[in-house]
Amino acid sequence: MANQKKLAIIATKGTLDFAYPPLILATTAAALDYDVTIFWTFYGLQVVKKERDLKISPLGNPGMPMPVPMPVLVQILPGMEAMATVMMKQKMSSKGVATIDSLLEMALEADVKMIACQMTVDLFDFKHSELIDGLEFAGAARFFEIAQDADITLFI
């Protein structure tokens, strides 16, 4: 499509809550016939690992609703992160929010292009085989090639 709009996203975060925005926006844009590319870099690479274990942390996240008010010192106790993660996943499932697994699957199905930052892959000693299939491995110059004619560019 000659006049197809383009969206380019840089996704840099690897927590459960921050895995959602790039995938929701990418799949929605794909449904609106955009040509979409996500550049996964730094902690964003956690989202495209084959064995994902994305968590949410109440620490440093003062806006996060907790079932009971909790002092910061309690939030650092072992198990609190796991509890917050389980709680959030239950809440999401009860509200009909898609899982990260299914959003990722839908994004790939809708031909959303995904690029993994080779520099951060090296930095964290990831093997290409640890990441999902279908990724392109490239650097910042490749991102600019895509972003220079994108209609919308987001940094998440």
């Binding site: 929701i24 799949t27 929605t28 449904a31 609106l32 016939d33 509200k95 009909g96 898609a98 839908m106």
Partner: protein, 75 residues
């Protein structure tokens, strides 16, 4: 009378839009897709979806928290 139906009840953003897109893909121009959803955000979302994709929102209504839409493909 709708040519196809989509039950998107209980699903939240962006799933109703993604499922609608998928359903429309298998339909021919002029056919009508009827959708039921419970996501209150879907009202504006389906308007925007149709405005951007060339499909036509021919009907939008709500009854007891269930939103009903009819979209005509490339209408």
């Amino acid at each position: 009378m709708a040519d196809a139906t989509l039950d998107a009840k209980g699903l939240n953003c962006p799933l109703p839009i993604l499922r609608a897109k998928k359903s429309l893909k298998g339909m021919t121009d002029g056919q009508i897709l009827a959708i039921e959803a419970t996501d209150p955000g879907s009202a504006k979302d389906f308007e925007s979806f149709c405005a951007q994709t060339g499909n036509k929102l021919v009907k939008a209504s709500e009854n007891n928290g269930v939103f009903y839409y009819e979209i005509q493909k490339n209408g």
